[in-house]
Symmetry: C2
Subunit: 222 residues, 2 copies
C-alpha cells in the first residue's frame, strides 16, 4: 500500500523525470534536428535507464514537441502581457512591434547561455508535419492577439492583404533571427549584436521599416 | 563488350534515373520533411525496383540534398546574372533588392505549379546538419556577390554590423516567404498575392523598408 506521502514522492519523481526528458529533447532537437534524434537517444541523454521513457511519459514525438513548446509559452505570455499593459492605447508602430519582439528576446536572455529554444522553434515552424502544433499553441495567446490588434490600429491605411503578408514576414523574421543568433553563439561565431536586448533593438528597427514601407500598387513594381 | 553507342545509352539511362530520383526526393522532402523520408521511400516514389537506388546514385542524404540544390542553382544564377547586368551601376536600393528577390520568384514561377523547391530550401537552411551545404553552394555565386556589393554601395551610411544583420534578415525573409507561399498553394489556402511576380513586389517593398530603416543607437532603444 502507498500512503499519501508516498504518492506525492512518486508524483514528484515523475515530474522530475519529465523535466529531464524535456530539457534533453530540446537540446538534442536544436543541435541535431527534430527528426535526426530518436526517442531512445533522448531517453539516454536524460539519464533514463529505460529507453522507452520518452514514449511512456510523452507518447509520440508530436506530443513531446508540444510539451517543449508549452514549457516556454507561459513565461513568454507573462512578459508579453506586461508589455501590452504598459503599451495601453499607444498609437506608434514601434511600441507594438516591441510587444511582438521583446517577449522572445527577454525570455531567451533570462534562460542564460546557452539556449536551445529558438533553434527548436525555427525547426518546428519549418517542418510540414510539426508547424501546426506551434500555430495552434500561439492562437491561444491573448496578449499576442492584443499586440497584433494594437499594431493594426497604427497601420489602418495599409491594405488588408499587405498587412497579412507583413504579419507573416514579421513572424518569420523574429523566429529565424533569434535562431540564427542562438546558433552563432552555440558555434562560437561572431554575432552582429552583443546581447539579446541589442538584438531586439535591431529587429524592432528593421520591422518598423518593414511595416511602414510604402506599398507599390500592382502594375508599377520594379 | 559494350560499344560506344551502348555506353551512351547506359549513360542516358543513368541520367534519367538520377533525374527521377531528384524529382521524387525534392517532392517528398518538401512535403514530409528531409529526415522523415527514407532513401527507400525516395527509391520507391521514383519508380525504382531496387530500394538501394538512392544510395547507389547519390551516396548519403547530404549528397542527395546537394544535388537537388545544384539542380536549381544554375537557372537561378542565370536569372540573377541578367538582372545584375541590367542594374549596371544603379544607385537605388530597390534595384539591388530586386536582384536578390526576383531570381527566386522568377525561377519558381517558371517551374509551373506545384513547386517544392522553396519548402525544400527552407527546411534545409533551418536544419543544423544540412544548412552548411546551402551556404557553401551560395558562396560560389558571382551574381549574388555582385548584387550584395551593389546594395552595399547604396547603403554606405549603414554601420557594418547592421548591414550584416539586415543581410541575414533579408536572406531569411526571401527564403521563408517563398516557402510559406508555396505551402499555402499546395494546401489550397488563400495567399496574400495572386502571383509570384506580385509576391516579389511585396517582398521588395518590405525589404526596401527594412534596409533603409533608421538605426537606433545603443542605449536609446524602446
Amino acid at each position: 500500500m502507498v500512503d499519501v506521502a508516498g504518492r506525492t514522492v512518486r508524483a514528484a519523481q515523475a515530474d522530475a523525470t519529465r523535466e529531464l526528458i524535456l530539457a534533453a529533447a530540446e537540446r538534442l532537437f536544436a543541435e541535431r534536428g527534430v527528426y535526426a534524434v530518436s526517442n531512445r537517444q533522448v531517453s539516454e541523454a536524460a539519464g533514463q535507464g529505460n529507453n522507452a521513457a520518452v514514449g511512456y511519459h510523452f507518447g509520440t514525438k508530436a506530443d513531446l514537441v508540444r510539451a517543449i513548446a508549452r514549457r516556454h509559452a507561459g513565461r513568454v505570455e507573462e512578459i508579453r502581457a506586461r508589455l501590452v499593459a504598459e503599451a495601453g492605447d499607444a498609437r506608434d508602430v514601434r511600441t507594438w512591434v516591441s510587444c511582438l519582439v521583446r517577449p522572445v528576446t527577454v525570455h531567451l536572455a533570462a534562460l542564460g547561455s546557452p539556449t536551445w529554444y529558438a533553434r527548436f522553434c525555427a525547426q518546428v515552424m519549418t517542418d510540414p508535419a510539426l508547424s501546426p502544433i506551434m500555430v495552434e499553441e500561439s492562437l491561444v495567446s491573448p496578449s499576442l492577439r492584443a499586440a497584433v490588434d494594437g499594431l493594426g490600429r497604427c497601420l489602418a491605411g495599409l491594405p488588408e492583404p499587405v498587412r497579412a503578408e507583413r504579419g507573416v514576414m514579421a513572424r518569420q523574421l523574429i523566429l529565424h533571427t533569434a535562431a540564427e543568433r542562438e546558433r552563432a553563439l552555440a558555434e562560437g561565431r561572431p554575432t552582429p549584436r552583443a546581447t539579446w536586448e541589442e538584438t531586439a533593438t535591431g529587429l524592432v528597427d528593421a520591422l518598423v521599416g518593414l511595416w511602414t514601407a510604402p506599398v507599390t500598387g500592382s502594375g508599377d513594381g520594379v
